[in-house]
């Protein structure tokens, strides 16, 4: 599995048609830094499929924690089984922020 950073990632050189398709599906290309980033999330599921096709491997995007702003992967989450947007680049809360370790003893009873 390839882990892509949603803020910017590189792709191998693609044909013109494929490149146009990627832009149409919501990607943005910074030619100076040669980095792709996501501009529009409306077709994110199709975009993921197209990227998987280009990279010939399953892909996952990093998640950004809304509280501590760190990047993390969905593999560390306990709720992936119920998540309809698993591995897609949307904001979330990391495990450390969701269940602070300091309060482990208090977790049972707040």
């Amino acid at each position: 599995m390839v882990l892509l950073n949603q803020k910017g990632f590189k792709l191998p050189r693609v044909e013109k048609e494929k490149f146009m398709l990627l832009l149409r599906l919501g990607l943005d290309y910074n030619s100076q830094q040669t980095l792709y980033s996501i501009k529009n999330y409306n077709s994110i599921h199709q975009l993921r499929d197209t990227l998987q096709d280009i990279l010939k491997s399953e892909i996952a995007f990093t998640q950004t924690c809304t509280i501590c702003n760190i990047d993390f992967g969905c593999s560390t989450c306990n709720y992936t089984k119920f998540c309809p947007t698993k591995d897609l680049p949307f904001t979330c809360v990391c495990n450390q922020c969701l269940r602070p370790k300091k309060n482990l003893q208090q977790q049972k009873l707040f």
Partner: protein, 409 residues
């Protein structure tokens, strides 16, 4: 504690407080702030309870816009839309110069609900208003794939909202609990968030419904939610129905199933011989099923107070002999539905033939089918007369072949 709805009490008034869908929020704020926007309307779409309406209200509050709202409870015919939306989007209010209000926003919520005769011409009227508007137009919908909204999608910027992620819902619930001084077990909040399926509104409503002053919200309290929001399909309903251990389980399952009553009745009837191999038990189960059928007939379309008897009989049919259950392969959907599906093309062809006969012989479709078709079939089998007859009735070769091979109808 329970006087105010928490959904309203804790509804965010600032954009940054709307949880989840950060990407959609950025796109929306960019669109709202851009005075040279290429498309004058935006369509926010996504499942219910993810913050579409809240975001619009928060943005209006933050950027000092006055919201003029039309929602599903209003009639949205061409006339009504023009009457309300035209003045709101074409003129500048005098208070713009005397107060902080920047102008109007026309907000049309649940735009996918525009349907039927009452709202005739509504979509076209909205498109016309979008073309001439001076104010931003915002629309919200759950489903934009419906045919009626296709022309509207072309003139709007589309912003998709995703179901809110579970950790974000848990954080929101935690925050509410802290503000309301509700003690909780973390697992209970997890259960509520998972059960909500990304719908923050329903999660907050569940939390308010379950929490009691001075009592700790435990995992046990959330058990009542276990089947909430669960869209139980025909296959899952049958699977659980035939495996129930007692009447209560069966009744509970049937209450939450979304399967059509008639389809369910037929499917249970079709599968019953597979469930009960003992003929005495099978007869007993069919007896309950027939009583359920009687009640279904009595319910019709208005006597829904009898539904409990219908369910009760179905539940009894499931629990005639719970111990004898062994897993088996279901017939799903019911045989009658499958048969209708497979014979649809044949029935369509026969109807088309009957219509042609009706036109030439001045009879109804029913008469053509019952009186003419049997004789026509025999006549077409005699090759000498077949061509002339088929030509006169304007039958296609496919229809002739179908008629000559017809065994019964």
């Amino acid at each position: 504690m329970k006087n105010d709805l928490w959904v309203e009490k804790y509804r965010p008034t600032l954009i940054k407080d709307v949880i989840g869908n950060e990407e959609a929020k950025i796109l929306f704020v960019e669109w709202l702030g851009n005075k040279r926007r290429t498309k004058k309307a935006v369509l926010l779409y996504g499942p219910p309870g993810v913050g579409k309406t809240t975001l619009v209200n928060a943005a209006a509050n933050e950027y000092n816009f006055r919201i003029i709202e039309m929602n599903a409870s209003d009639t949205r015919s061409e006339k009504a839309v023009t009457r309300i939306a035209n003045p709101a989007t074409s003129f500048t209010g005098l208070d713009k110069f005397s107060s902080e209000i920047k102008g109007n926003i026309l907000f049309m919520d649940e735009i996918d609900g525009i349907a039927g005769n009452e709202d005739r011409g509504g979509v076209n009227a909205i498109i016309k208003i979008i073309e001439n508007t001076r104010a931003p137009i915002i629309m919200a919908a759950n489903d934009v794939e419906i045919e009626k909204l296709r022309p509207l999608k072309k003139v709007c910027t589309l912003i998709r909202f995703q179901p809110t992620r579970i950790p974000l819902i848990i954080m929101a619930l935690k925050s509410i609990c802290e503000q309301e001084h509700v003690k909780y077990e973390f697992v209970a909040l997890e259960k509520i968030a998972v059960n909500s399926q990304g719908d923050v509104r329903s999660a907050i409503n569940d939390l308010q419904g379950l929490s009691e002053e001075g009592k700790t919200l435990t995992e046990q309290d959330t058990l009542a939610l276990s089947l909430r929001n669960k869209d139980v399909s025909m296959y899952d309903t049958l699977k659980e129905y035939f495996a129930v251990k007692n009447i209560a389980d069966a009744a509970n399952l049937l209450n939450y199933s979304t399967v059509e009553y008639d389809d369910l009745l037929m499917a249970i009837g079709d599968n019953m011989p597979k469930r009960y191999t003992d003929t005495v038990k099978l007869a007993e189960a069919y007896d309950f099923l027939s009583q359920a059928d009687v009640f279904r007939g009595r319910i019709g379309i208005e006597h829904w107070h009898l539904l409990k008897y219908f369910y009760n009989n179905l539940a009894q049919a499931a629990s005639v002999d719970p111990e004898s259950y062994k897993p088996f392969e279901f017939i799903s959907p019911p045989i009658r539905v499958i048969t209708l599906f497979w014979t649809k093309s044949k029935r369509t062809l026969l109807t088309s033939i009957c219509m042609k006969i009706g036109v030439q012989c001045h009879v109804s479709k029913y008469e053509a089918k019952m009186i003419f078709v049997p004789y026509l079939r025999l006549m077409l089998q005699q090759r000498k007369k077949a061509n002339a007859l088929a030509e006169w009735l304007k039958l296609t070769p496919e229809e002739v072949t179908f008629l000559t091979g017809l065994k019964m109808f």
